[in-house]
């Protein structure tokens, strides 16, 4: 079994079998990060480029560490110090990098579809590191790995995704991915943050947080994407009053429910500090699992002759 495409662009394009393959492979790679010598020679001589047009700490660092633990050479390009500031277009930058013969390029861009555009134009593999409001497939895969390791399976779980659904690529990728893997997904947030017709993707919608959380196995909180709101945000205090995950609201969920958040978290806005640090929180395990998932993707995509 191998992946059908040379690129990982979104959860929409992945089949359940491919998702299982990625998660199983990631499970095996997670052991490497627990060793004293956290490095294996698997991708020696491969080149991985991180091309990030948007701010990132965890995703970029996670990809860099994943590449290095596989012995690949990792190069980071942050656009503020690159030719982008000299007016080079995205396509010209991508073609220039292609001429240096990388094996895999990870692209994060504020424009939805940017990695897809580049993937069609270059020979090497492209991984979407987050594009606009669209998709963030590696975050969704690491969320699934975290859930699977804690719950044993994804099938039949009840998941609530709460917050700024409209502007969240994490929410979109998880809606595609989790519904494909047999989860029942409910999205919840204030009306302007819920995209119209989102039900067509197979999710339930609620504007009442207590209803959305009740009897759920997984409560996934999202950050408000302030940088993507055109008008100024009405009131953080009002948002927190209705949509902050606090002790009282979490008690409506199943007693063994997991609390997740893709980070960075805004304490007191979408999640209360005692819940973020509480026993049900797996937020830091998500970060750890992110390295294993990205190692698995680099491994599965790192070509070779047929």
């Amino acid at each position: 079994m191998k992946l059908r495409h040379k690129d990982i662009l979104g959860m929409k394009e992945l089949s359940p079998e491919e998702i299982h393959l990625i998660l199983d492979t990631a499970d095996s790679f997670s052991e490497v990060s627990t060793r004293d010598i956290k490095k294996v020679p698997t991708l020696r001589g491969k080149t991985v480029i991180n091309l990030f047009y948007e701010a990132s700490t965890r995703t970029r660092t996670s990809f860099e560490i994943a590449a290095k633990r596989l012995s690949a050479d990792a190069v980071n390009i942050s656009t503020s110090t690159s030719s982008v500031v000299k007016g080079e277009t995205l396509i010209d930058t991508a073609k220039t990098l292609e001429a240096m013969n990388p094996d895999i390029v990870i692209i994060r861009h504020s424009a939805s579809g940017a990695p897809h555009l580049i993937a069609r134009l270059v020979r090497h593999s492209v991984i979407n590191g987050g594009d606009g409001f669209h998709e963030h497939p590696t975050q969704s895969l690491l969320d699934m790995l975290t859930i699977r390791r804690k719950k044993g399976t994804l099938k039949g779980l009840n998941v609530a995704i709460i917050g700024d659904i409209a502007h969240s690529r994490v929410a979109h990728s998880n809606i595609y991915g989790l519904t494909k893997m047999g989860c029942r997904v409910t999205v919840c947030g204030p009306a302007p943050m819920i995209p119209r017709d989102i039900e067509k993707l197979g999710v339930a919608v609620s504007s009442d947080m207590e209803e959305a959380v009740r009897n759920r196995d997984i409560v996934m909180m999202l950050r408000i994407q302030f940088e993507r709101h055109q008008a100024s945000f009405p009131s953080i205090r009002e948002y927190a009053k209705f949509y902050c995950l606090n002790r009282e609201r979490l008690e409506m969920a199943k007693p063994d429910a997991l609390v997740m958040h893709p980070g960075p978290i805004n304490r007191g806005t979408e999640i209360a500090p005692d819940i973020a640090d509480g026993v049900q929180s797996v937020i830091l395990e998500q970060v750890t699992n992110g390295i294993a998932v990205r190692m698995a993707l680099l491994y599965l995509l790192s070509g070779g002759s047929s």
Binding site: M1, E31, V40, T42, G45, L300
Partner: protein, 177 residues
Amino acid sequence: MKKIVMNVEEIERSLTRIAYEILEKNRGAESLILIGIRTGGVFLASRLRDRISAIEKREIPFGILDVTFYRDDVATLHKKPKPGRTDIPFSIDQKKVVLVDDVLFTGRTIRAAMDALIDFGRPKMIQLAVLVDRGHRELPICPDYVGLNLPSSLWEKVNVHLSEHIGKDEVVIEEEG
């Protein structure tokens, strides 16, 4: 064409002999560790561990090694082999490590396994136990303990079936095609 070259009893007797040979060569089980190479080697290592533990009346540490990350062909393969989980939950520093595998062939798996072990620490020595040595080495590797020396042709397949994995215990030689 399928020919059985070892049956249940022969496999059992070989493992018992190898268990005693390991203890004889190492003068007991002091600082001994058994590590099985996925997949076939794991079941054999576990059976050897049971025998040695019973003879010596003490528990022998036992680990599982997957060599996929260390294979010399993994970067060039288009269809990637699915890696299994390595589980060596103890230090191998200054230990006598016996690597266990089912079939010794080109020696490339053992080369990968030794490189992997060195990343886990500095063993005092590494020894190699295999149930079947079918020849055709491509690297200078020689086993310390062998169940059966089986001269084979390159186009034949030697398969070790174990009850933990598939059906019953037997070693079979099959012609390809």
